[in-house]
C-alpha cells in the first residue's frame, strides 16, 4: 500500500495525476429503468479484449499455410496444454462479441441514443460492427476445415457478383481466381494485422466520442426529468458504474468459460479443394439471415439477376443503416418514426430469417 502511494505521488509530481483523471471523476452515468442497456457496449469491448489475448496465444502455435493450418489447430487442441480451452474461448467469444455488438446496436437504436450530437458515435459503432463481421469471416477460414473452405468460397463468390468491381474484389480477397492456400495467407493477414489495426483506432475514437458527449438519456426519461428535475438520478462512472461494469464482465466471462468448457468448439475435417461440398453447408449464424434471403430470391427478378439484386439491396440497406442518425431530424417526427419502424422491421427480419435458415433444409 505504501509502495502504491509512493508510485502515485511520483506520477502526480510529474503528470498532475489529479488533472489527468479529472474527466474520469467528473463522468457520470444516468440512472433509470433502462440503465442496464448501458452495459452492452462495455461487454463488447471486454470480449474484444478477450479476443486480443486469446488471439495472441493462438498465434504462438498456429501456422498459416494450406498444408499446415489444420494440423496446427489440431495440435493446439490436442497436444498443447489448455490449447483446447484457448481456442474454444476464442471461437465462443467471437460469437458472443458479434451478438453483444448487435444487441448494443439495437439498444442504441431503440433508445435513440444516436441522435444529435452523437451521430458520429453511431457511424463509428456501425463501422466497428462491420469490422467485427469481417473478423468473423476471415477468422472462420483459418482452421482450414471443409465447412470454412466452402463458406469462404460462397462468401467471396457473392462479393464477385458485385457490378463493375466485383471480379476484382473477388480476386483481391482470394489472392487468385480460386480459394487456395493464397486465400488463407491473405485472410490471416487481414485477421491478425489489417483488421486489428483499424479496429483499435476506431474503438479509441468511439470511446473518446462517448467520453466527449457523455451517456445519452433516453428521450422519454429526459422528458420526465425535465418536468420533475428532482427525480433525475445519476451515479459516478468511477468507481460506482465501473464496478458494476466489472461485475457484468465477470458474468460474461462466466458464460464464456462455461460455454467453452461444456461445449468446446469443434474442428471438423481438413479442407479438400477437390472434394464435393458437404450437405447442409451454412455460414456462421450472423451471416445466415443474408444467406437465407439470397436463397429465397428467384434467379431472375424482372430482368435483373436475383443474386445481384439481393446483394444490392443488402448493400444499400447497410449504407442507409450506417447513415441512420442523419434521417432522424428530417420532416418533423416522420424521420424518427421511419427509423423506429425500420429498426423493428430489421430486428424481426434478422431473427426470423436466422431461425428459418436454421430449420430450412
Amino acid at each position: 500500500m505504501r509502495l502504491l502511494k509512493h508510485v502515485h505521488n511520483w506520477l502526480d509530481e510529474r503528470f498532475d495525476w489529479a488533472e489527468l483523471t479529472a474527466p474520469l471523476r467528473k463522468k457520470s452515468v444516468p440512472v433509470h429503468g433502462l440503465s442496464y442497456w448501458y452495459f452492452l457496449g462495455g461487454i463488447t469491448l471486454f470480449l474484444f479484449g478477450v479476443q486480443i489475448c486469446t488471439g495472441i496465444l493462438l498465434l504462438l502455435y498456429y501456422r498459416p499455410s494450406a498444408s499446415e493450418a489444420f494440423e496446427s489447430v489440431q495440435y493446439i487442441m490436442t497436444r498443447v496444454q489448455f490449447g483446447w480451452l484457448v481456442r474454444s474461448i476464442h471461437s465462443w467469444a467471437a460469437n458472443l462479441m458479434i451478438f453483444t455488438a448487435f444487441a448494443h446496436m439495437f439498444s442504441v437504436l431503440f433508445l435513440r441514443a444516436y441522435r444529435k450530437p452523437r451521430e458520429l458515435t453511431w457511424v463509428t459503432g456501425m463501422i466497428l460492427l462491420f469490422l467485427a463481421m469481417g473478423f468473423g469471416f476471415s477468422g472462420y477460414l483459418l482452421p482450414w476445415n471443409t465447412l470454412a473452405f466452402f463458406a469462404t468460397k460462397v462468401g467471396t463468390d457473392i462479393a464477385g457478383q458485385l457490378p463493375v468491381a466485383g471480379k476484382w474484389v473477388m480476386i483481391f480477397l482470394r489472392g487468385g481466381e480460386e480459394v487456395t492456400g493464397a486465400t488463407l495467407t491473405r485472410f490471416f493477414g487481414f485477421h491478425v494485422a489489417v483488421l486489428p489495426g483499424i479496429t483499435t483506432v476506431l474503438v479509441l475514437v468511439h470511446v473518446l466520442l462517448v467520453q466527449k458527449f457523455g451517456i445519452s438519456v433516453p428521450p422519454g426519461v429526459e422528458e420526465r426529468w425535465k418536468g420533475a428535475p428532482e427525480q433525475a438520478r445519476e451515479m459516478k462512472f468511477f468507481p460506482s458504474f465501473f464496478l458494476r461494469e466489472l461485475m457484468a464482465w465477470y458474468i460474461a466471462l462466466a458464460v464464456l468459460g462455461a460455454l467453452a468448457a461444456v461445449s468446446p468448439w469443434g474442428l471438423g475435417t481438413k479442407a479438400d479443394p477437390f472434394a464435393a461440398a458437404p450437405v447442409g453447408i451454412k455460414p456462421e449464424w450472423y451471416f445466415l439471415f443474408m444467406f437465407q434471403s439470397l436463397k429465397l430470391i428467384p434467379a431472375k427478378v424482372w430482368f435483373v439477376d436475383g443474386e445481384l439484386l439481393g446483394i444490392l439491396v443488402f448493400g444499400v440497406a447497410g449504407l442507409l443503416w450506417l447513415l441512420l442518425p442523419f434521417f432522424d431530424g428530417c420532416k418533423g417526427g416522420r424521420g424518427r418514426r421511419l427509423i423506429m419502424g425500420a429498426g423493428m422491421f430489421a430486428l424481426g427480419f434478422i431473427v426470423a430469417m436466422t431461425i428459418y435458415g436454421y430449420v430450412a433444409k
Binding site: 457520470s28 440512472v31 496465444l57 504462438l60 502455435y61 497436444r79 498443447v80 496444454q81 489448455f82 490449447g83 480451452l85 484457448v86 428535475p229 428532482e230 433525475a232 438520478r233 445519476e234 451515479m235 459516478k236 460506482s240 465477470y250
Partner: protein, 153 residues
Amino acid sequence: METQEPPQVQPARRRVVEILLGGGLLASIVSFLYPVLRYLVPPPVPDLGGDEVVACKTGELKSNGSKIFRFGNRPALLLLTAEGEYRALSATCTHLSCTVQYRNDLHQIWCACHNGMYDLNGRNIAGPPPRPLEVFQVHVRGDEVVVSRKRGA
C-alpha cells in the same frame, strides 16, 4: 441532479468486504494465469528417429570423408577415417549448440562458430567446448551403415 453517494459503512464490515472482493479477484487472476502459463510451455517433441538410423550406404563416403545426417531431432556426424573405420558422433557442439564439421585436413572435428576442436573420439581438445561430443555406435549391416545410441547412454 442528485448524485448517489455510497452509504457510510462500518470499518470492520468494509474490511470483510474488501478481503472477499480482493481474494476473489486474486483467485480469478490466478485461474486465468495458470492455464495461460501452461499453454505457453510447448509440448515436448517426440524423438521421432528412435534409437537407430541408417546414416548412409557403404561406399557413399570416401576415405577421410564425412557426412551430416539426421539422428532423431538432431544432426549427427558420420565419418570414415583414413584407416577405413566408421565413427559417428553427435554433431551438436557442447559449447553453444552449433553444428560441427569434420576437417579432413586436420583429421579433427571443428566447430566454426567459436573455433572449438574435438578429436575423432569426440574429446574436446581445444577452444571453448566444455564437454566431449556424444559418441554413437556404428554397425555395417549389408550395404547399410547403421548408427545407434550406445546402451545405457
